[in-house]
Amino acid sequence: MSGQAATFRRGIPIKKAVGLLASRRTALGMLGVMGLFTLAGAVLPEAAATALYLSGVFRVVVALFVAVLAVSLILRFQQVQSLRMLGSWLMHFSVVLVSIGAVINVVSSKEGFFEAIEGQTVPLPGGGCTLSLLKLSPFTMNGKMWQGESARVRIYSPGERDEVETVYVHRPVKVAGMQVRLVKHGFAPHLAFSGGKDGEKAGAYVSLNTEFGRQVRYWLELGPPNFPESFSVVFHPAEAGPFLRSPSMNMVFQSDRQTAVLRPGKSISHGGYTYAMGNVRYWAQFRVSKDPGLGLVFTGFWVAVAGASAALLPRVFHADA
């Protein structure tokens, strides 16, 4: 008897809690709180807004909001008796879908960047696959549009895949469940040196960053251990006219601030070493990402649109909405 009474006493708060979670006022209040958080994030400086959205408080608020919706959806599913009600149910259900997808992404998404010079083969994160950058097509003006930024790549996985594909800046390729997309490209002139007491000789393609081809010169600090002396470089893809017609490289040596201009086929001497500029290739940066919750998020988005249309559009076309 006393045990039954205890169960009864415990049952009341649970019922109350469920009732509170399923209440429309609670849901609306939570929506208001979410709105305030979003508003705060919109007006705060970027760093503060990021901190806000990564904070535990915000996560608790989102979790509570989703819990309110989930309880409400479960309890109200049996009340769905018309297309309009189904639309409303789906619209709210979509928030749960998007939230679950977002949580999956936060917990298990992966992201990485790598660079490759034309002709270079690099291993992809996760192991097993390699990507060879065959040729990069930078953008060119086609009429009034920039077009054509793409990279021809060979994706090789022993025994599974050996394909040549084109990666565009907004069209990734899928490799082993990951998306590989072209992020940016730049020029990589070859810089070689020789000389010194031991007749040292080495060279390397030097990555010079560009932002979508608009910025055609970029400082890059170079120095030991790759080269005998520290120097800065400004690369000019062209002095005038189309890219790569007449590339040149301005070098400033840090030791004595001496400057020199390098061109393909010409060499300069400094500090007992001879420097020469070779051919120019492109390099490209790729982003590799894996977002397992993405499908759920996008499904949720479309469910939201479909639900909103089914629930609300009839009211627009109804005379007494």
């Binding site: 429309r24 849901a27 609306l28 929506l31 208001g32 979410m34 709105g35 979003t38 508003l39 994030g41 919109a42 970027e46 807004a49 990021t50 959205y53 977002a102 992201e111 953008f139 003006m141 009429g143 009034k144 549009m145 920039w146 077009q147 054509g148 930024e149 565009y168 800046v169 907004h170 069209r171 990734p172 998306q179 997309r181 992020v183 979508f212 982003r287 990402s289 993405l294 998020v297 996008f298 988005f301 479309w302 939201a304 649109v305 909103a308 249309s309 609300l312 559009l313 009211r315 627009v316 007494d320 909405a321």
Partner: protein, 275 residues
């Protein structure tokens, strides 16, 4: 083509200004029937506006809502066409011209001082999602502009003979909020898909994204309050005004106050340099 665009744009501004003056005169002399000239001039302005946008679109062979200036112009055109369409069906909405014309003039006038040159689209922007994304943002703005005009009449001129009846005003405001909510949702969804393609992420708490979400939540709250709790009339009118201000700030205001990844074509051109 550029000359045609300029001439038609100038004519548009002149017509909207004339429509505003004629509408105010008609309302001051308390003869709402005299709104017909204002309506006709506004129609001429809208036709001229259409020519201006078409000449720009065909001139650069790109949708005429890519740059900051173009989006303001296109959004204003949609708002005016929407108002004229509803005014044809319900004549009592015509006094909204007296509210909407100065707002659109102000928006377009301020946009005239921004970077107006067309700039080629960078590869990240070359997607059909761009058209869907911006088009639905502008549709959302147009709906809220009409709702804003009616809300102003309802709130600030409640006893005037020419103010639309409370029932009509309430119905148009609520329907506008519903449409704006759906359009805003499609805008956010298409933007997310496009962002995932172009930048590799579907959501980044960027200021413009975040403010669009604020606006969507505001519309959501308004719809819930109406459907669940029966809020009507002036309460919904205040929501319409808040929704309109949020929409305008979210689309065109944020670039003036915050750095955003959206600013390929900000008020000062590519790069979105702060004004």
């Amino acid at each position: 083509m550029q000359m045609l665009e300029l001439i038609s744009l100038g004519m548009t501004l002149a017509c909207y200004a004339a429509a505003f003056i004629l509408a105010v005169l008609a309302l001051v002399v308390k003869k709402p029937r005299n709104l017909a000239p204002a309506f006709t001039v506004a129609v001429v302005g809208a036709v001229s506006h259409t020519i201006s946008l078409a000449s720009r679109g065909f001139g650069f062979w790109a949708p005429p809502f890519i740059t900051y200036f173009e989006s303001v112009s296109f959004g204003s055109w949609l708002a005016m066409v929407g108002l004229l369409y509803f005014s044809l069906r319900r004549k009592e909405i015509r006094p909204v011209l007296a509210v909407l014309c100065p707002v659109l003039l102000l928006l377009m006038g301020s946009a005239m001082f921004t970077h107006r040159e067309f700039e080629p689209l960078s590869p990240a922007l070359q997607s059909w999602w761009l058209v869907v994304h911006i088009l639905f943002a502008m549709l959302s703005f147009a709906c809220m502009a009409v709702a804003f005009g009616i809300a102003v009449l309802l709130l600030f001129f409640p006893g005037a003979r020419w103010t639309p009846s409370a029932k009509t005003a309430d119905s148009v405001i609520f329907k506008s909020i519903i449409l704006a909510f759906i359009f805003q949702m499609v805008m956010l969804v298409s933007g997310s898909i496009w962002a995932n393609q172009a930048w590799g992420r579907y959501w980044g708490w960027d200021p413009i994204e975040t403010f669009s979400l604020v606006t969507l939540i505001l519309f959501g709250i308004a719809i819930h309050l109406r459907v669940q709790f029966g809020w009507k009339g002036k309460k919904m009118a205040w929501f319409a005004i808040a929704g309109f201000l949020c929409t305008v700030y979210g689309i065109w205001g944020v670039p003036y106050f915050a750095q955003s990844i959206h600013l390929y074509q900000g008020p000062m051109g590519t790069g979105g340099i702060k004004p």
